[in-house]
Amino acid sequence: MLRNRETGAFAGLLLLCAALWAATPYFATVDNLLNVAEQTALVGVLATGMTFVILTGGIDLSVGAIVALAGVALGLALRGGAPAAAAILLALLAGAACGAVNGALVTLGRLPPFIVTLGMMSVARGVALLLTDGRPISGFPPGLRALATARPLGVPAPALVMLALCGAAQLVLARTTFGRYVRAVGGNAEAARWSGVAVRAHTAAVYVVSGALAAACAVLLTARLDSAQPIAGLSYELDAIAAVVIGGTSLLGGTGTVLGTLAGALTMGVLRNGLNLLGVSAYLQQVAIGVVIVAAVLVDLALRRRADALAARRA
């Protein structure tokens, strides 16, 4: 049994998989499950960064727009003849830079994260449109595309990227001082400050992580579509927040795990896949996704209350 907060998320995910396995023969095939893992990579990577931000009690609404801006930076660099590795590095730097501006405004400017990242959302999207004149960029040399088409050991590369980044993030949060301090800031910033935690530095850092991972998402997206669109990533921030919340991370900060977020992202990926396999109407799909987000959080809360009650009785 997995411990604490992510238990509910994984239970919900398994439940959903069981229901789909019963409902359609096309769901529980190796091919389809790998397909879901590949499709989930985008939200999974984005939500991993969002987990850091939400753990500090903040929010990052700009990630969808940063996906567009970083993708455009990647596309322009590639079309300008840069080698794929250099173009990817540039995109990651662009994403991290947007995150650094967010972080600086939240900490030095003492502005609410909601406002800062709402502003960045508009600025990054606008710059992406300006740089491209509103048109998609395509016609890249074949190097980048391998990130979407390669299947080392039979597993799609985007899924491996997601697992690697989630694994690294989980280790950082669970095993390093940085991770402990990030959670401390979200749990009680005042107490953290008195304990000698550099609250501003850690708060600013999570926005850099979020921006850089949004850029990583942009790299995967651009490779998948073989095109960089300035309108890419619209409302991805909401998918990322939903994944984090389904994963059992508290919007108030302090508690939560990347593993839970991974379960949350997979839940949304599985659900969308299942609804397509079942041929559910496009309108009903929007309803179903909303219901599952709320239901997942309900189940999570119910499980946690029961665990708390048990612990209280034992004490």
């Binding site: 509103g134 669109q229 619209l234 896949n273 041929g279 009903l284 179903a288």
Partner: protein
């Protein structure tokens, strides 16, 4: 709580999975979105044809018209669903190419509807499509151009409201319009500016055009939404009725404006017919019959 949710989920899924295949071949239509009456009409035509031919039709679409990544995911999922044929209206002419290549690899025939695929990108990626079913936007532009030239008696000043730069269908309409005007050297385009397919943008742009060129006698807008914005600007300038306004799409609002004499013409496409023709083509392909690579669907001028 958990058990209740499980029961509910299973019930919901069973309810969604209505009908069952019953052994009929399943084909899928993937429009850009279902939040647009154009594609609702397309589904209606496709469904009627599928019912009469004994095919099961699945319709799946993204929430947003421009969400190419979601469209790719839907196509990937439908390939897993082992559909027999894929009818797709590309969200992006180039962005659809990876989806087509994946369908090719799974031996699912792809029929492209309404919006063309970028042929160079498709060829570079080694993809192939079975057919294109759709109206020729260039032809529609020509219809509008000939109407304007006739109304002006072969001589006069014309303004053009362009769509989003780089957007395939708007560009094609513009090209056709200019081509048709070339046959009447007396007609000159005095202004041609983008108004992003939006009503309030079109209102502002048209106000500016009327300031700069008070003698404008006709305006062509690449869609009806912009045409209606132009109508308002013309009325605000006190020139209602003095300027011929031609739009594109034959929306209900535009038809009403034409009936009321505020607009003069619009170009109608027939999405239900596109849906029908695409399903019939899929049926032929499944039976092993050949289908033409290009299947034009009629396009008509609507006037009072």
């Amino acid at each position: 709580m958990t058990r209740l949710l499980a029961t509910l989920a299973l019930f919901a899924l069973a309810a969604c999975n209505r009908g069952g295949d019953g052994g009929r071949p399943v084909i899928a239509l993937v429009p850009k979105t279902m939040n647009n009456p154009f594609f609702v009409d397309m589904e209606r035509g496709a469904r009627a044809a599928a019912d009469s031919l004994g095919l099961e039709l699945v319709v799946q679409a993204a929430d947003r018209e421009v969400d190419a990544e979601r469209q790719l995911q839907i196509v990937e999922n439908l390939i897993q669903r082992r559909v027999a044929a894929l009818l797709v209206v590309p969200s992006g002419s180039r962005e659809i190419v990876p989806a087509i290549v994946k369908a090719n690899a799974a031996d699912v025939p792809v029929l492209v509807v309404d919006t063309r695929v970028d042929t160079a990108a498709l060829r570079a990626a080694g993809g192939r499509v079975a057919t294109f079913v759709g109206s020729d936007n260039v032809d529609g532009g020509r219809l509008a151009g000939r109407f304007v030239a006739e109304r002006l008696g072969g001589a006069g000043r014309v303004a053009v409201l362009e769509g989003v730069p780089g957007h395939e269908s708007g560009d094609a309409r513009l090209r056709g319009f200019r081509e048709a005007l070339a046959a009447s050297p007396g007609v000159t385009v005095v202004a041609s500016q983008p108004a992003d397919m939006e009503r309030d943008r079109a209102f502002q742009v048209m106000q500016n055009v009327l300031q700069a060129h008070p003698g404008v006698q006709a305006v062509f807008a690449c869609n009806d939404v912009m045409a209606l914005g132009a109508v308002e600007a013309i009325a605000a300038a006190g020139k209602a009725g003095a300027v011929t306004v031609v739009g594109f799409d034959a929306q209900d609002d535009a038809r009403a404006a034409i009936a009321a004499g505020r607009m003069h013409a619009t170009v109608a496409q027939f999405p239900a017919e596109m849906g029908r023709q695409a399903v019939v083509s899929a049926y032929r392909l499944l039976k092993g019959e050949p289908v033409p690579a290009e299947q034009p669907v009629r396009i008509e001028l609507v006037t009072k």
